[in-house]
């Protein structure tokens, strides 16, 4: 089945821009990215969009379709009706470069601030022994394709530009959790998570989990367990009292 689809696509750059209307052919089985490509080939050769694998594995084509953060290559046209106007904009938590391409450097900056994997003392290559059940929790987080949709939807930075310096976002709080749960990692990131990465700003409203194309349970499996770990270290009255009485940790 082929029909003329109605698209409204944001075009512009950081100076300004607007939604432009397009009528474009839509064929059976296509995804939104196919339509963007058809627009490039037929009507707007300089329409900028980021994409790579077109199979939901690289996390490049993140944007917002009808206001919802999505991967363009995983948004099937069949979820829309033929007469519906489909609006596509760049991710709105980041500054825009051009058209559908945002500046995602915030994420790379934050990636550098999480203490890296710290290898255990005295274990050389080939000597690592870990059980499957010990690696499974972190493996879930390593499914992350870094599409940054969770960063885009998180209201902490989406609605408050000023929080960006103090908040690493769900993706990188999850990275801290991943390493905390790594059976052989030797570092402790609990204080950093709270003081440097802004874990306390997270109010666990779960939008990150809702938009994750990999289905990672970011909130339940990474952020809340991380909050619990921090609570155990920082806000546990028994531990606090113990530290006072026995002067531990000083």
């Amino acid at each position: 089945m082929t029909y003329k689809g109605h698209f409204r696509i944001w075009r512009g750059d950081e100076e300004g821009g607007s939604l432009e209307d397009f009528e474009v052919e839509v064929n059976e089985g296509e995804v939104v990215l196919d339509i963007i490509h058809r627009l490039q080939a037929t009507q707007a050769p300089d329409l900028a969009v980021r994409w790579n694998c077109k199979a939901g594995k690289c996390g490049s084509c993140s944007a917002e379709v009808n206001g919802r953060p999505r991967l363009l290559c995983m948004t099937r046209m069949s979820i829309f009706s033929a007469d519906e106007i489909i609006t596509v904009t760049p991710m709105r938590a980041f500054s825009v470069i051009k058209d559908l391409v945002p500046d995602v450097s915030y994420n790379y900056t934050k990636a550098r601030e999480v203490t890296s994997f710290t290898p255990p003392e005295g274990l050389g290559p080939g000597e690592y022994r870990m059980q499957q059940e010990d690696v499974e929790r972190s493996q879930e987080f390593r499914k992350c394709i870094e599409c940054f949709l969770c960063q885009d939807t998180c209201h902490v930075v989406r609605d408050h530009e000023e929080n960006k310096s103090a908040f690493a976002g769900p993706r990188f709080l999850m990275r801290a959790a991943e390493l905390e749960m790594h059976p052989l990692d030797a570092a402790d990131r609990r204080d950093d998570a709270q003081d440097e990465h802004g874990l306390g700003m997270c109010n666990i409203t779960k939008c990150c989990t809702e938009v994750c194309p990999e289905g990672i349970k970011i909130t339940d499996n990474a952020l809340i367990p991380m909050k619990e770990r921090v609570a155990g270290r920082r806000y546990d009255p028994v531990v606090w009292l113990g530290n006072k009485l026995f002067k531990r940790g000083s």
Binding site: G16, R92, D159, G198, N203, P225
Partner: protein, 267 residues
């Protein structure tokens, strides 16, 4: 709402509207407000009613009055003694209710629910919140959400008491075994309370989640696995247990006041 912050901050794509979502994103929030409001209003009224909480004949005690520790409590309902003054503004279960309230108030699910619906922070995903500033749970009072775990411990104890009440209700006033519709509702309620309490994120953490190496603690790993499975339905249990609490209380109130009679199967 300021127009030059958040999604309208200048380097971002310039768009006249705050959200382009065209679905009915407010529906879950409206339902949440309705659901929570019903419970809060009902519970408040019931707690200060100070009557119709105990069915002497079948030993039914509503969880809203358990443990009944006020000097105003009727004789049979007070299993743990009566030691707080009887006053119209002091609930009969004044020792347990605040902790149960705080347990639910600091619960990770309820936090999500009321932050979204009552505080609109955010109203829905990718819908801007109407606040100029946001600090999350970094400051007083919200930083106190971090002590959820201790309310879990206390709620655990209260749930044991609720279980005890539920068991006592199988004994009728004449000392024999009894079973009525009230017992069935009490059992269902206690089961749901346990499911809600055990599926708590803090429970999941202390039972095993805090460990780095599961393989060295096989028993705790098994517990963690089970609790994790329950945890995925924490939201469901949160709502169902609110409902069963109201149901069991309403039923006992109606039986105690003589409005209806308990449907008896045995005794």
């Amino acid at each position: 709402m300021s127009t030059d912050t958040g999604v309208h901050a200048p380097p971002r794509a310039r768009l006249p509207v705050s959200t382009l979502r065209n679905d009915r994103w407010w529906v879950p929030q409206v339902l949440t407000i309705a659901g929570l409001s019903v419970f809060v209003i009902y519970a408040t009224v019931r707690v200060f009613l100070q009557q119709n909480y105990w069915v002497e004949e079948y030993h039914y005690l509503t969880p809203f009055y358990s443990p009944c520790i006020s000097t105003g409590c009727v004789d049979g309902a007070a299993h743990f003694g009566r030691f707080i003054p009887d006053h119209a503004l002091i609930p009969y279960a004044a020792l347990s209710l605040p902790f149960l309230l705080l347990f639910r108030l600091t619960c990770y699910y309820y936090r999500k629910a009321y932050y979204r619906s009552f505080w609109l922070s955010p109203p829905a995903c990718a819908v801007p919140e109407p606040h100029a500033r946001y600090t999350g749970e970094t400051r007083f009072p919200l930083i106190l959400q971090n002590i959820h775990r201790y309310f879990f411990y206390l709620a655990f104890v209260v749930t044991i008491i609720n279980t005890y009440d539920m068991l006592l209700a199988f004994q009728t006033a004449d000392g024999g075994f009894g079973l009525g519709l009230g017992n069935v509702i009490l059992v269902v309620n206690v089961v749901m309370l346990w499911l809600y309490t055990l599926s708590c994120h803090s429970c999941r953490h202390v039972m095993g989640g805090r460990l780095k190496n599961f393989s060295k603690h096989p028993v705790r790993y098994r517990m963690w696995t089970r609790i994790s499975a329950l945890n995925t339905r924490h939201m469901e249990f949160a709502w169902i247990s609110l409902g069963t609490l109201m149901l069991v209380d309403l039923y006992i109130m109606l039986v105690a006041s003589g409005t209806i009679t308990d449907l008896r199967f045995i005794g």
